[in-house]
């Protein structure tokens, strides 16, 4: 039987991490998940009129890379990569493990609003197991041979800055005339 990584240890880690992320660092982002059953798609696999589920505000760690400016025939364009690190237990449904309980499952393609930018998730990584065990898939715990050890502790998502014209959550077509003829 393992000596470390029991639920009392995990609870200590969770409490410290929650306090750190939610009360000390306190960076909040809004997660918008596509309402897949309400968004119609065409044969190209795209939805012109997207429907989203209500945004969920969650605290996390944010690491951004520098903006990358690219020059093309369309002029300068900017892109930026980002990494969101969530405490997995904060994303679980209410009643699972204390609060906060966002009740959201992050997936590739979800949209996150932070720093006045919409970010599209390119990858979702859940690979940080305390003492190398995830109780949901721990054979010994599932079979009842031992108690619950370890924890899947984080969900780390990387994404990029996406276009508001694609996300369609903001009205970006207002307030400016353009062209030589001010059409």
């Amino acid at each position: 039987m393992a000596l470390f990584g029991g639920q009392r240890d995990i609870s200590l880690f969770r409490t410290l991490s929650r306090e750190l992320i939610n009360k000390l660092i306190d960076i909040e982002v809004d997660i918008f998940k596509s309402a897949v059953y309400d968004s119609d798609t065409n044969i190209y696999g795209e939805s012109i009129n997207k429907v989203y589920k209500p945004g969920v505000r969650v605290a996390c760690l944010v690491e951004t890379e520098n903006q990358e400016w690219e020059s093309s025939e369309f002029g300068m364009d900017v892109n930026q990569q980002i990494k969101f690190s969530f405490l997995r237990d904060d994303l679980l449904p209410a009643g699972s493990i204390g609060t906060p309980s966002a009740n959201v499952v992050l997936e590739v393609g979800d949209t996150i609003w932070w720093n006045n930018i919409y970010w599209e998730l390119d990858s979702v990584v859940e690979n940080q197991f305390i003492v190398g065990k995830d109780p949901e898939n721990d054979k010994g715990f599932i079979s009842g041979d031992r108690q619950e050890f370890g924890s899947s502790f984080s969900i780390i998502c990387s994404g990029h800055q996406t276009r508001k014209s694609k996300v369609q959550l903001d009205d970006i077509r207002a307030g400016f005339k353009y062209g030589l003829y001010n059409e």
Partner: protein, 286 residues
């Protein structure tokens, strides 16, 4: 034009240039020189896209007009003065159409075949209104033959101009609409109304749809637009040749003197007027 052998001179090509400055002077000539430049042709495409084709896409409940830009603008213009298709961070918003000129090729099928140093082939046209023919009673009486105002324009350089155009959209469904609109407008004359127009043709669209890691999904349709254009430059060499690009026909007055023996038997000719020794036409009877 009268030639004065003593004072006239010749230019480098051997053409005789009259020394009479009044022929060169264009103080009263308000007729604008005909000039068609590459800018006019580029602008014709812009105008046609913006005002005739007017590509639009559906976005929610509204129709969004697709902006058109000329390719590779200056950085400051691109970032600081292109707010209509950028968000606060400077990221380009779609859909967007870009065009840029990639080549200017001489059209040998319509070659003007002239020596630019001494072009002697012009198009001459007559201006309809000539202020020298303003109405007065003297014209009516003497049957003055009106002066005609002519303008000369050199034969233009005929060129084939190619443009690279790219339609960049978020969605293929948007791309479809834009491609349909442009395809419909091809093989027609593009340009402003009452201005120069140019035959625009295109043959094919190259479609690409890519999904790269770390970037948005990209749908692009690129095509080559071919314009049959013509250029009349506004340069000094052309001006040297065009010293007499405006000319007037001779206004002719026929005044005849007739001697009659019987005052009751005057000739009743429309062109012949009975005048006295002073050469002044008599007053019309009231």
């Amino acid at each position: 034009m009268a030639i004065n052998q003593n004072t006239d001179y010749t230019d480098s090509s051997g053409k005789r240039i009259p020394s009479d400055r009044s022929i060169h002077a264009r103080k009263s000539d308000t007729f604008k020189d005909v000039k068609v430049g590459l800018y006019d042709i580029d602008e014709a495409i812009y105008y046609y896209f913006e005002n005739v084709i007017q590509p639009t896409v559906g976005e929610g409940d509204s129709e969004v007009k697709v902006p058109l830009i000329y390719g590779s603008p200056e950085r400051w213009k691109s970032v600081q003065k292109s707010g209509v298709f950028r968000d606060e961070t400077g990221k380009i918003q779609l859909p967007l159409i870009m065009y840029r000129r990639t080549s200017v090729e001489k059209n040998r099928n319509l070659s003007r075949n002239l020596d630019a140093n001494n072009p002697n082939l012009h198009i001459t046209f007559e201006k309809q209104y000539n202020p020298r023919n303003r109405y007065d009673r003297f014209d009516l009486l003497v049957g003055r033959r009106p002066s005609r105002e002519f303008h000369r324009v050199i034969i233009p350089d005929y060129v084939n101009i190619s443009y690279e155009c790219i339609v960049w959209t978020d969605f293929i469904e948007h791309q479809n609409r834009i491609v349909e609109d442009i395809n419909y407008a091809s093989n027609s004359y593009w340009g402003k109304p009452d201005f120069f127009k140019f035959l625009a043709t295109l043959d094919s669209f190259d479609i690409s749809n890519e999904l790269e890691q770390g970037n948005d999904r990209m749908s692009k349709a690129s095509f080559t637009l071919n314009l049959s254009g013509y250029i009349i430059p506004n340069n000094l060499q052309k001006e040297m040749d065009n010293f007499d690009n405006t000319s007037y026909g001779i206004a002719e007055i026929n005044i005849g003197a007739t001697v009659v023996t019987d005052m009751d038997n005057l000739p009743n000719s429309g062109n012949q007027i009975n005048v006295g020794n002073s050469g002044v036409a008599p007053e019309e009877p009231c």
